[in-house]
């Protein structure tokens, strides 16, 4: 071990990105690799960039569109998430989010006056026709994709591997609190504070844990919220209703083999509500669920020690 790890912070995907390295002399190489991955995913998958591939797909009005391998991979990851969660995680919530008022970058939505909202049905992931071999996608007319969470988590996984390869040391990459690890961890593991909001100070109510590998994701209904004429809305839409998910769990954190799988599990758990505990246990995914009234519950081997909310 060449010394204690070092972390760098910057903005990415409308949230805070963190890059940690086990060899502080290799930070520049690691960060450059991460930036390259961020730029590629942003251009392919952003819902808020007019020049993104996803914007082109969402505007195709039922036509077949040729897309890049990166967007193919991300859409395929979203479809896998839908399959594995029986549709609780569904990329076709784009139109429902727009109807709820989330139609611009969150920095603009969160600061806006309360808006009149509509509830629209979610068409469902089976309306997506993806042909990976041909590199094409076709959405049913009126369907819009939101790849936000899956794209961010997949990008974290890819960025961690790219940065670790470039830097030749252990790397942690966090995009908005969704964390991917690659390479040898620092002695004792990567220290991470688990809280409701990734922008929090490290002394915010939560829990310290260490991770050796894989990924960690946290989803919360307490962030990315905005005022509407029907009360406060959040960004985790239940595909079954087209509304923000019920507030059974305000925050769910899951450790998994990858950041993407962790993110799928946290998003689905918020949607599933009470059923999430049994589901996470059956999958043996170590998880921390914080109820709407602020009580933490630990599942499948997540440590009990040191949780401020337990």
């Amino acid at each position: 071990m060449l010394g204690r790890e070092q972390h760098a912070r910057f903005q990415a995907f409308g949230s805070t990105a963190v890059v940690g390295v086990t060899d502080r002399r290799r930070m520049t190489a690691a960060r450059a690799a991460v930036t390259e991955v961020v730029d590629a995913f942003d251009l392919a998958c952003s819902r808020f960039r007019d020049d993104s591939e996803l914007s082109m797909v969402n505007a195709a009005d039922g036509e077949t569109v040729h897309i890049s391998p990166l967007l193919v991979e991300t859409v395929a990851a979203s479809l896998r998430a839908a399959r594995l969660t029986d549709g609780d995680v569904d990329p076709t919530v784009g139109e429902a989010l727009i109807a709820l008022g989330y139609d611009r970058d969150y920095a603009l939505v969160g600061a806006a006056e309360p808006r009149r909202i509509q509830i629209v049905p979610v068409p469902g992931w089976r309306t997506i026709k993806l042909d990976p071999e041909a590199g094409t996608i076709r959405l049913a007319r009126g369907v819009r994709l939101d790849l936000g969470a899956a794209a961010k988590a997949l990008a974290a996984d890819r960025a961690a591997v790219a940065a670790s390869d470039a830097a030749g040391c252990g790397v942690l990459v966090s995009f908005g609190g969704d964390i991917a690890l690659s390479g040898p961890p620092p002695e004792g593991g990567w220290r991470v504070r688990v809280t409701d909001d990734h922008r929090s100070e490290v002394d915010a109510p939560g829990q310290w844990i260490t991770l050796q590998s894989g990924g960690l994701a946290t989803s919360s209904t307490t962030v990315r919220t905005w005022a509407t004429d029907d009360g406060v809305a959040h960004h985790l839409v239940d595909p079954a209703t087209g509304r923000p998910a019920r507030d059974v769990w305000r925050t769910v954190s899951v450790a998994a083999g990858s950041c993407l799988d962790a993110n799928i599990a946290t998003t689905a758990s918020i949607i599933r509500g009470e059923r999430a505990v049994e589901w996470l246990q059956s999958l043996r995914l170590p998880s921390r669920l914080v109820s709407a009234d602020g009580v933490a519950r630990h599942v499948a081997g997540w440590p009990d020690e040191g949780d401020d909310l337990a």
Partner: protein, 133 residues
Amino acid sequence: MVLFAAMHDARDPRLTADDRSEARLRRDQALRRVGHMRRWVIGSSAALTAGFAVFVAQVAHGRSSSTTARSGASSARQVSQSEPALPAVANPGDLGLQGPDQVPQPAAPSPPQSTPAPSDSSGGGAPAVSGGS
């Protein structure tokens, strides 16, 4: 017939010594021809038997005790052709969400330390925070 005639002549008491000597020569030549023919028949029979055995081993495969490399390779081909094709091996990712190699471990609290505000400069030692975004 030549052989029987030569044997008869060799024993006939009416013949002279020269005639008998000539008859014995003819008998001996005939015996040599019979010996050659018998060897030829035995060799041909052996070759035909071997060829037939190879033919049966290939046509009625699986019932032969042959252990030659040729028949072994043929066996592998025929087994792979006769068994139903197995489905492709599933991508591990399609089998379900993958758990971590190691569960998270509890960590002692760090000394009070503020998370630096996002900036383009390297931050330092503040650990990552996992929370909603």
